[in-house]
């Protein structure tokens, strides 16, 4: 009997031990998981969007704002009227430009079967929403969204970028400023957590936790808005006038690297980016490479003079005719030859043979070293998303013909911003600055000014002054002198680069460019104009140069820059 009682006691102890272990498992080990499961059942959380930072031009004008927009949905279960009646009632309210799209949607709605929800309209403004609400049609519902609003329309689209959605469905900036400064301008999402009942409704006196969203920071750009507007207008007119495929203009302040204007044509509308060709999203000034042609000569010339191996008044001893290098024959662009040319003459005549003579004096390793110091072969560090840098080959792999063609800007790939930044050093006395689009970052209680970043000094101020004088001569006596604004001294250089297609150069397809700066005593702007495959003339002196001078006249007028000569 006693043994039986013992077994019963053991059985109970064992059973209690099992229960205890199970309780320990659920209440101690599984506690965090069960707690979060429970919290999920009686708490609900809603993400609160943070307003995205705004973007202003240098004059404080808003280029990008946020605006409330509404998407209109139709709940077919609650709709008490026919689709035709709905169409008749909504049509007078819809704006003219949206009518066609609306009618297409109505047709689609008529064909759709077994659906409960239908997206009828997108991006309605508050006024239209109120008008629709006043119709008191059952079954219509709105979803509020914050969208980017661009008071200047397409202006600066390649620099601004656009806002799309990330993989998580949250707003995300792509390309340009929106992409580069996404972290600064997107702010921090807020959160509201509240207790809910069994049906998921908020409990009136329940616990509530609220975390306010932190708005994104505002950005102020270095962009001069009226100038940007005029640049875009002149560029669009220029591309059409010269029948080019596309074109670009970039202007920076050589004294600090501030980007004053930047335009590429064709542009796109960032508010409806999804309707545009994706190829247009890339900013060709920072994301495309090209062979610069003769505008590159000023960089090679600056390197040669700075090295001390040649001086301004040296005479070219091999400029009397074409130059043979192996199986190749280097000719001038118009097959005219000038024996006894000075270094200035070589730039004035844009003499390829003269440039080869200079490059051979300088040598491959010295030229390479100067190009690196000018920032060729590496990113400029501009604060825009999508910058690339074409590879600059090691000088040990250059052949004699490579050195020769590089001297006149063929057989080397650069981005437009790299050339512009390099020429900027000639304008400012020899310093390379990092190009900067954003001037300051504003938040509620502070203004973070972005200071100029000096990266290197490839040439001395004396070399810069000499090359500037040579570039002035190149404009005064060169092929484009007919188009230059009267009484202003401009330092510049034309360029006509042939485009390599399937391993050879097509003489009919060129990139016509002009690069230069003014006023020459203390330059306030350096500008690059480049046209892709102009048809009226293939030459930079007849296409890009006149366009450059036209924009320079706008700048003189806008900034009240007085002429150098009376």
């Amino acid at each position: 009997m006693e043994t039986r009682i013992k077994w019963v006691i053991i059985f109970f102890i064992f059973s209690f031990l099992l229960v205890f272990l199970k309780l320990f498992y659920w209440q101690v080990l599984k506690r965090p998981a069960l707690q979060s499961l429970a919290a999920n059942q009686y708490f609900s959380n809603v993400n609160l969007d943070a307003p995205r930072g705004k973007i202003y031009s240098s004059d404080g004008f808003p280029l990008v704002l946020n605006q409330k927009k509404f998407d209109l949905f139709l709940n077919l279960d609650n709709l008490k009227i026919t689709v035709d009646q709905l169409k008749e009632q909504l049509l007078p309210i819809i704006g003219e430009e949206e009518k066609e799209k609306f009618l297409q949607k109505i047709e689609l709605l008529k064909k759709s079967k077994n659906i409960k929800w239908f997206s009828l309209m997108k991006n309605l403004d508050e006024e239209t929403k109120t008008k629709i609400e006043n119709l008191k049609i059952n079954g219509l519902d709105f979803e509020e969204k914050e969208r980017r609003f661009y008071p200047e329309g397409n202006l600066l689209s390649h620099v601004l970028g656009f806002v799309g959605e990330s993989e998580k469905g949250t707003p995300q900036g792509y390309f340009g400023i929106e992409g580069y400064y996404d972290k600064e301008i997107s702010g921090k999402l807020g959160m509201k957590i509240f207790e809910k009942d069994a049906l998921g409704r908020p409990v009136f006196i329940g616990n509530e936790y609220f975390e306010k969203p932190i708005p994104g920071r505002n950005l102020v750009l270095n962009i001069d808005r009226p100038l940007q507007f005029l640049v875009e207008k002149r560029l669009a007119d220029g591309v059409k006038h010269y029948q080019a495929n596309s074109g670009l203009v970039a202007i920076i302040n050589p004294q600090n690297g501030a980007v004053i204007a930047m335009a590429a044509y064709p542009e796109y509308d960032p508010s409806t980016y999804y309707l545009s060709d994706q190829e247009l999203f890339r900013n060709p000034i920072i994301s495309s490479s090209f062979e610069p042609g003769s505008i590159f000569k000023v960089i090679v010339m600056a390197a040669a003079i700075d090295s001390g191996l040649i001086s301004k008044d040296d005479i070219c001893t091999e400029c009397g005719g074409p130059k043979k290098i192996g199986e190749y024959s280097i000719k001038t662009w118009n097959e005219k030859y000038y024996p006894n040319s000075t270094m200035t003459d070589i730039l004035v005549h844009s003499d390829n043979v003269g440039m080869v003579w200079i490059a051979e004096k300088l040598g491959a390793s010295k030229l390479y070293s100067y190009l690196k110091k000018f920032g060729i072969g590496e990113k400029t560090g501009i604060d825009l998303q999508g910058e690339i840098s074409p590879y600059l080959r090691d000088p040990n792999n250059w052949t004699r013909i490579d050195l020769a063609t590089i001297s006149f800007g063929q057989g080397i790939a650069v981005t437009p911003i790299q050339v512009l930044n390099a020429v900027s050093a000639i304008a400012n006395g020899g310093k390379i600055y990092q190009p900067q689009v954003v001037r300051s970052i504003l938040s509620d209680d502070e203004e973070l000014k972005i200071l100029p970043v000096e990266k290197s000094q490839p040439i001395s101020s004396q070399t810069a002054r000499i090359v500037t004088e040579m570039m002035v001569e190149a404009v005064e006596k060169g092929e484009a002198k007919w188009a230059k604004p009267k009484n202003y001294l401009i330092a510049g250089k034309t360029g006509t680069a042939q485009i390599p297609i399937s391993g050879h150069y097509d003489s009919e397809k060129t990139i016509a460019s002009f690069i230069g700066f003014a006023p020459i005593n203390k330059p306030r702007f350096v500008m690059l104009v480049s046209l892709q495959e102009p048809k009226t003339s293939t030459w930079g002196s007849e296409t890009a140069a006149p366009l450059w001078f036209k924009i320079a006249e706008d700048i003189f007028q806008l900034w009240n820059i007085q002429p150098d000569k009376n």
Partner: protein, 93 residues
């Protein structure tokens, strides 16, 4: 007996104070949420005014309505007096 009456009176005073305070709290709470609502609505109004103002004074709009010569005059003036444009931005800060 007196002490009972005193206790009752004190309790009543205490309750009245409680009621008054809680009413005050409700009033202040309402006032605070009204102010918060007002601030939110003013902020929204501000955003809408900024957008409208920007649309009316954009380069596109000015260029549309003026000749090229007038455009230069307007924007040369604007460039000289950048502080005017920044005034609004400073206010916002």
């Amino acid at each position: 007996m007196r002490s009972i009456i005193r206790s009752i009176i004190l309790s009543i005073i205490f309750l009245v104070i409680q009621v008054i305070l809680s009413v005050k709290v409700v009033v202040y709470d309402n006032l605070l949420s009204n102010i918060e609502e007002k601030i939110t609505s003013l902020e929204e109004e501000n955003i809408s005014i900024e957008a409208k103002l920007a649309s009316y004074t954009s380069c596109n709009k000015v260029y549309e309505e003026k000749t090229e010569k007038e455009f230069f005059k307007i924007f040369s003036f604007a460039n000289k007096s950048q502080e005017t444009f920044f005034f609004a931005l400073k206010l916002e800060k």
